[in-house]
């Protein structure tokens, strides 16, 4: 991946938000100043910063979706993932760094949902950067108290007999939800299944609808 695209274009090929021609803010001044001081003092280099941004841009929910699809189709992998999600993800080629990953599995009777009430912990190595709502005061405050109302705002309506398990990422673990595999996909390939898996379904704020028969 070339290192010179950051100045103008996002990885999707679109221009960045027009922040480059907006009035300079105090906090942007600070970012520029810190970055230059760190480079001058040999803490980092411009190339290292660009490389880190490339890495950030290369991570998307497609990584998590591949893990979920493998878990749906390979019982041995599913067991390994539930036992040690860090090691199982690493075996698939996803470096999840020093953080520990836990996979929690939805069943017909259990629905899992992830939140970080203390900050914004998120399995960014498997899902990319968190969406803005995940970092919002409303999501962080309400999910541990009224998860079903929060889910309803995302269009997820659960029957009363389903147990909701909220996971508050308070310390060193990161979480990914293995959503229920939709009916009607019994003969689907791993790749086709991965395309069905949404970001929100792996946070627990979405479920995967059964595909429409064409």
């Amino acid at each position: 991946m070339p290192h010179d695209h950051h100045e103008n274009l996002s990885p999707s090929g679109h221009p960045y938000r027009a922040d480059n021609d907006h009035p300079l803010t105090y906090w942007q001044q600070m970012e520029i100043a810190i970055r230059e001081l760190l480079i001058e003092k040999g803490v980092t280099t411009a190339a290292e910063i660009n490389g880190q941004i490339d890495l950030m841009d290369s991570r998307s929910p497609a990584n998590g979706a591949a893990v979920v699809a493998r878990a749906w189709t390979d019982p041995a992998f599913r067991s390994a993932l539930l036992k040690d999600a860090s090691a199982a993800s690493k075996d698939m080629g996803f470096d999840i760094g020093p953080l520990r990953l836990i996979a929690v599995e939805n069943t017909p009777n259990i629905h899992n949902i992830i939140v970080c009430t203390l900050c914004s912990c998120y399995p960014r190595n498997l899902l990319g950067l968190p969406p803005d709502w995940y970092k919002s005061r409303a999501y962080r405050s309400r999910t541990v108290k009224e998860p079903r109302k929060v889910l309803a705002e995302f269009g997820v309506l659960l029957p009363p007999e389903t147990t909701v398990r909220v996971h508050d990422s308070t310390a060193d673990m990161r979480y990914i939800v293995i959503p229920n595999r939709p009916a009607g996909t019994e003969n689907w390939s791993e790749k086709a299944l991965a395309d069905l898996v949404t970001r929100d379904s792996m946070i627990g704020t979405g479920i995967i609808e059964a595909p429409q028969v064409p």
Partner: protein, 93 residues
């Protein structure tokens, strides 16, 4: 054998990783995670002595009261050992 624990109700100033809404609440160990550096020391630039961390499961009724809408739904959170006190089983699970 269910390991019942109560989260300490202490309210110190400064950085801790034990959410306020869980302090003083009773739950059980969902799983042991092993030792992790104590974030309360790391946050101030000190080496954190490795401290056992575990996932504790709480019911909504324990956290928010028995008149909560779905008392049997649960919240799991990671809590460091020095924030937990072992207790006898508080009531039938």
């Amino acid at each position: 054998m269910v390991e019942w624990v109560r989260v300490r109700a202490d309210m110190p100033p400064g950085h801790v990783r034990t959410p306020v809404y869980l302090r003083g609440k009773t739950g059980w160990v969902e799983r042991h995670l092993g030792p992790f550096p104590n974030p309360e020391a790391l946050a101030y630039g000190h080496d954190g002595t490795p401290t056992p961390l575990m996932r504790i499961r709480f019911t909504m009724s324990e956290i928010w009261g028995t008149d909560t809408a779905h008392p049997d739904d649960t919240v799991d959170a990671e809590i460091y050992a020095h924030w937990l006190e072992n207790i006898e089983q508080p009531h039938a699970p």
